[in-house]
């Protein structure tokens, strides 16, 4: 009934999980090309279509349709348009397609009728397998997009820390002319800035005023420092500037905290395994240094071990000095809490686990972080008890 009579006529094309179907307006299935019964291959075909490229099956379908004299295919699934055009037919997109509804409503029986699967249960099993596979990939994609944000924020945090250090140093230097003893009494930059912002002149460092700032047991030291200070008097013009600088620093420190919180939440989402093993902030810094998750995951773990110690490595190559034992990962308690002579080995162990975690985040999505972390913690504990 098909033949030449239909020359130039239109046909509906419907994509399903089991293959591609061509139907007439009255839901007659005139052609079909089935995918192999394998979730991976199905997924690969669907991905090609989504990217606007025809799969092997799609090209085969279009070839058959063209041979039969169909020139235009009707679809309601817009995202197929590019792939179909790529395979060589005209495409018309409609809002609702009866044939598509028909296929969707009867997909399990169609799948069984065309022997794509043995029975309905098998159809659902296959469909679930495809969903899990696709969802795992989608999660990874979403994660790597978040990974780009992490790198930006980690860089920002880095710059911010440098600036905060420089500016805090400036504040200490200038205000120190007036109250040199405070620098020693308070080593936390943020608290130092807070004191200058709120109290200004040293004469305001009273127990009541300090009490309001909730500084805990630091108050005593600060008070005794202020009692017989050797500093010069503070001009009111200088005081104004210093307090304003200090206020800005305090707010930058708060901003820094929010940035760190952001990094933590993104890292836990984007690189869950690496975050558990490294801690989210170190995870972000490693990603930043490596230039992305994929790159970090593909590095040999001996490179991960010294990531961030490039200068020292360069120096050792030029001068024959000892190569560095650790880079950024020195920040991890598993390394820095160890006695110096054990740190090299600890760094190697940690780097190996970080590599495994990064690979899981980049490639498999398997949740192995907690187990890796447990091994590190156990090991650290054992060593701590042994060295007593």
């Amino acid at each position: 009934m098909n033949g030449n009579a239909e020359s130039g006529s239109q046909i509906h094309v419907v994509e399903t999980l089991i293959g591609i179907f061509a139907l007439t307006h009255d839901n007659d299935i005139v052609e079909r090309v089935l995918y192999p019964r394998d979730a991976k291959q199905i997924n690969a075909a669907l991905e090609r279509h989504a990217a606007g490229e025809p799969s092997k099956e799609m090209s085969e379908m279009v070839e058959k349709l063209v041979q039969r004299g169909f020139e235009t295919v009707i679809i309601s699934n817009e995202h197929l348009a590019d792939a179909l055009r790529g395979a060589g037919v005209n495409v018309e997109i409609v809002e609702d397609s009866g044939p598509e509804d028909f296929v969707r409503e009867n997909i399990e029986s169609i799948a069984v009728d065309f022997r794509a699967v043995e029975d309905k249960t098998q159809y659902y099993a296959l469909s679930r397998e495809v969903s899990v596979l696709r969802t795992r990939k989608d999660i990874q994609k979403a994660q790597s997009e978040r990974g780009a944000t992490i790198i930006q924020t980690a860089q920002l945090l880095n710059e911010l820390d440098k600036s905060l250090n420089v500016l805090s140093g400036k504040l200490r230097e200038w205000y120190g002319l007036h109250f040199p003893e405070l620098s020693r009494a308070v080593d936390d930059h943020k608290i130092y800035a807070l004191l200058v912002e709120r109290l200004g002149d040293r004469s305001n460092f009273s127990p009541e005023n300090l009490g309001e700032l909730e500084l805990g047991d630091r108050v005593k030291g600060i008070l005794s420092a202020s009692e017989d200070s050797m500093g010069a008097p503070l001009l009111s013009e200088d005081e104004e500037h210093l307090r304003s600088l200090a206020a800005n620093l305090v707010s930058l420190y708060s901003y820094r905290e929010s940035l760190e919180a952001l990094i933590m939440s993104i890292a836990e989402e984007a690189v869950p395994n690496l975050s558990v093993v490294a801690g989210p902030v170190l995870a972000a810094k490693l990603l930043e240094k490596a230039g992305g998750l994929k790159k970090l995951a593909m590095m040999p773990s001996s490179t991960v071990q010294i990531l961030g110690a490039e200068k020292a490595l360069f120096r050792s190559k030029m001068t024959g000095a000892k190569p560095p034992k650790h880079g950024l990962i020195f920040q991890h308690p598993y390394v820095h809490a160890k006695p110096r002579k054990l740190r090299g080995k600890a760094a190697r162990t940690l780097a190996a686990k970080l590599s495994l975690a990064a690979r899981a985040d980049a490639f498999t999505g398997n949740p192995i972080g907690a187990e890796l972390r447990r091994q590190l913690d156990e090991d650290a504990e054992r060593q701590a008890t042994e060295s007593v």
Binding site: E105, Y124, S131, R134, T135, D138, I139
Partner: protein
């Protein structure tokens, strides 16, 4: 002591420890979010906490008709890590299937590793409920839609998904959060506005229940698509 059946697949357990809602565990020995496993006469149940799940809260508040039944195919929008979904999976049983959609990668990953891996009747989908076409290939026509997406346009989302996925005569259950839709209106008016939208979208309203004290500022609406 013997479990009292409230709806097909939903039971009330009574013991010295008190009363609890429960569903029959489809995967005996396995728990998913800290619920209790209770075995009576060789059958294992999972307790169902109304403070953790809006559907359980609705049952406790006197839900008249249970839309879910054994063998149902269900599209679950806003599935998160699958707390409620695990009980949906119990109720529909091996012959049923639930497709769980959420747009947040983290909970969906937890859904895969926690629930979907162990249950053949759960399929995870990372997707935006506002764009049903993007997951149309993975989800067939379904008997019911369960929506708990905490989005301003809940009813609109349900209607759009119903157009693509819901069989005629199929049911929809929609959690409405009065606050996320409009902070300035009284809760009742927010619920009514959403209910009205469902009606305009071709649904018949079966019932609507406020969920306090289990879930503040929330109602659960049960509706049926007119055939």
């Amino acid at each position: 002591m013997s479990p009292k059946r409230i709806f097909p697949g939903v039971y009330r357990l009574e013991s010295e420890a008190g009363k609890a809602l429960a569903t029959m565990n489809l995967t005996p020995g396995r728990r998913f979010y800290g619920e209790q496993l209770v075995t009576v006469d060789g059958v294992e149940y999972r307790t169902w906490n109304p403070y953790r799940s809006k559907l359980a809260a609705a049952i406790r508040k006197g839900l008249g008709v249970m839309p879910l039944s054994r063998g149902d195919k269900v599209l679950y929008l806003g599935v998160a890590s699958g707390t409620t979904c695990s009980h949906v999976s119990d109720i529909i049983g091996v012959g049923g299937h639930v497709w769980g959609v959420d747009f947040a990668p983290r909970p969906i990953r937890d859904l895969i590793e926690g629930l979907a891996k162990h249950r053949a009747n759960v399929s995870p989908i990372l997707g935006d409920a506002r764009r049903p076409r993007t997951y149309a290939l993975n989800v067939p026509k379904v008997d019911g839609i369960y929506a708990d997406v905490a989005q301003p346009d809940q009813a609109g989302i349900v209607i759009e998904n119903a157009r693509v996925f819901l069989k005629s005569g199929g049911w929809a259950v929609m959690a409405v959060k009065s606050r996320s839709i409009d902070v300035t209106k009284a809760p009742q008016r927010v619920y009514e506005a959403e209910i009205e939208k469902l009606r305009e979208g071709g649904f018949e309203i079966v019932e609507s229940l406020e969920l306090d004290p289990f879930e503040k500022d929330h109602a659960l609406v049960v509706a049926r698509l007119k055939s």
